[in-house]
Amino acid sequence: MLNSKFGILTVSIALLLTIFILSLVACILTHTSPHILLTSIASQEIGFAIKLSLLTSAISTLMCIAVSIPASYALARYNFFGKTLLSTILDLPLALPPLVAGVGLLLLFGTTSFGAWLSDFGLKFVFTPLGIIIAQFAVNISFMLRIMRSTFEGISPRYENVAQTLGCTPMQAFLQTTLPMSKNGLMAGGIITWSKGIGEFGAALMVAGATRMKTETLPISLYLNMSCGDLDLAMAAAVILIIISFVSLYIFERRGGVTRLY
């Protein structure tokens, strides 16, 4: 296999790239010691950041799942006027810099009467943890939509047809056939969305700001502590983020990377 110069060249490049990525991780891990790391993680601030990150990302992931299931089903199964345009717009957050999405969210919730109306109901997004959730949702929903759409497209609508003739309403047919058959896609999409949510920085920074012990998620904590030179806390946040990335990547790969299609 590896008998040509070309072969050796390509493998060398792949190896160099691996070394590059490993060295990034290694630098962070060696910039701290187990003792310092443990005390930092035990600190009130990092504890708060971990809790806030886990909570906001869990909620935004659930929101992404709840919205993407019906929306991606519509895109996968039905043809309607303007579908191509709609689907392009729904893909937009994939290409949009999160900072820009964040500015949009800030303006929507901070300056419009819609935002004021929501805030009358107690739904205040600007400079609050709620803002973090909506920022994660806005940035990640397109990923979830894409994964669920391709999952649904990979499942023949005939399963639902058969279920309908056997006594299901269209919704029951979906809930009893296509949805359980999408389990792997849902898991993979959920894990990726959750891990992206935990790492979300730009959009959350714009909407929710970076207030210590209030809107301080792990990435915000990393940013704040780097800015004021508290490297121990910054490294602790970074190490936790690395662990989360590894775990989610592992689960994602275990789930078949992409969805297993029937």
């Binding site: 003739t165 006594g167 029951q172």
Partner: protein, 347 residues
């Protein structure tokens, strides 16, 4: 029983164009046509998966055009089985009963009974993923008939299977139909299936129904060149076969045809026109089938002449123009036809 009146449906890729069809209670009805003829849309429209763009569907006299599939009492079996991979075989077969809120013990009893009927009892606890095509299709059929539907729709149920399994399942379908008497609509592109199973046949092409009739009518008297070409088989008969010493004797109307295919009971017989010898005198031959009759029709197909000889049943014989002229054949000529037992195909 089922009436489809002027139904049209355009799905872009496939379409149904002004289809009208009446199917009687208890009938085994075949929809025959090439791929892309609109056969599947037609039965999916009967099932209620699609709402027609225009036209109406009646079931037992009631207009069901706008009624959901679940309220139509119609079951469906697809070519690719569509067994739910996340449910066991028992879970698949019992699916319809669970939707209809049938009790647990009754569901189990019915599932056992139907699994027994289709010979899949030993698979009930398995998941569909590991089963063979024939097993999957038996389970799909069991799942469809266990709910005792008014109409059973079969979309190319035998097309994905190997020929041995196809033959066995074809017999099974006939048996189930006889046993339950369920009105059945069976979509296929195989004329053998159509001829062997159908009480009546509708031939479809390009979204239209172009001929409806008994298998004899459709195969003997195709009403268009398309059907003649598509069906493409002459000398197709039905009869009753008795086996003696590895030889089948099939009584077809008045005559007795001998075949080296071993099959007993109700069978279909086909003999290719080019496998039949024709002569004006009795032929001394080892061939087991020899009949005499009169030429009723002569068709010039270019280089080949097709001669219809009535020996009690009409046989089509193909011969070259040259030998046709040498023998001085013409309508009304008395001739003898001969073919081998091995050229007689039973199915």
């Amino acid at each position: 029983m089922i009436r489809i009146e002027h139904v049209s449906k355009d799905l872009g890729e496939f379409k149904l164009d002004d289809a009208t069809l009446h199917i009687d209670e208890g009938e085994y009805f075949i929809i025959l046509g090439p791929t892309g003829a609109g056969k599947t849309i037609l039965i999916e429209t009967i099932a209620g998966i699609y709402r027609p763009d225009s036209g109406e569907v009646f079931l037992n006299g009631a207009d069901v055009t706008n009624i959901l599939p679940k309220d139509r009492q119609i079951s469906m079996v697809y070519q690719d089985y569509m067994l739910f991979p996340h449910l066991t075989v028992a879970g698949n077969i019992g699916f319809g009963l669970r939707q209809k809120k049938v009790g647990r013990s009754e569901t189990r009893a019915k599932v056992d009974e139907i699994a027994d009927l289709l010979g899949v009892s030993h698979l009930l606890l398995r998941y569909p993923g590991t089963l063979s095509g024939g097993e999957k299709q038996r389970i799909a059929i069991a799942r469809a008939v266990v709910t005792e539907p008014a109409v059973l729709l079969l979309d190319e149920p035998l097309s994905a299977l190997d020929s041995r399994t196809t033959e066995r399942l074809r017999a099974e379908l006939a048996r189930i139909h006889k046993l339950t008497g369920t009105t059945t609509i069976h979509v296929t592109h195989s004329f053998e299936e159509a001829f062997a199973l159908g009480d009546r046949i509708a031939v479809m092409c390009g979204g239209r129904i172009i001929q409806v009739g008994t298998p004899d009518e459709v195969f003997r008297r195709p009403n268009s060149k398309f059907i003649a070409d598509f069906v493409g088989v002459e000398n197709l008969f039905r009869g009753r076969s008795v086996v003696h010493d590895d030889i089948s004797e099939v009584r077809v109307d008045g005559i007795l045809v001998v075949s080296s295919t071993v099959a007993s009971g109700d069978v279909s017989v086909s003999i290719r026109p080019e496998d039949i010898l024709i002569s004006k005198r009795e032929i001394e031959t080892s061939a087991r089938n020899s009949f005499s009759g009169e030429i009723t029709e002569v068709k010039d197909m270019g280089g080949i002449i097709r001669v219809v000889v009535d020996v009690g049943v009409p046989f089509v014989v193909a011969l070259t123009k040259r030998s046709y002229e040498d023998m001085e054949l013409a309508p009304g000529t008395r001739v003898c036809i001969v073919f081998k037992a091995s050229a007689t195909h039973l199915f």
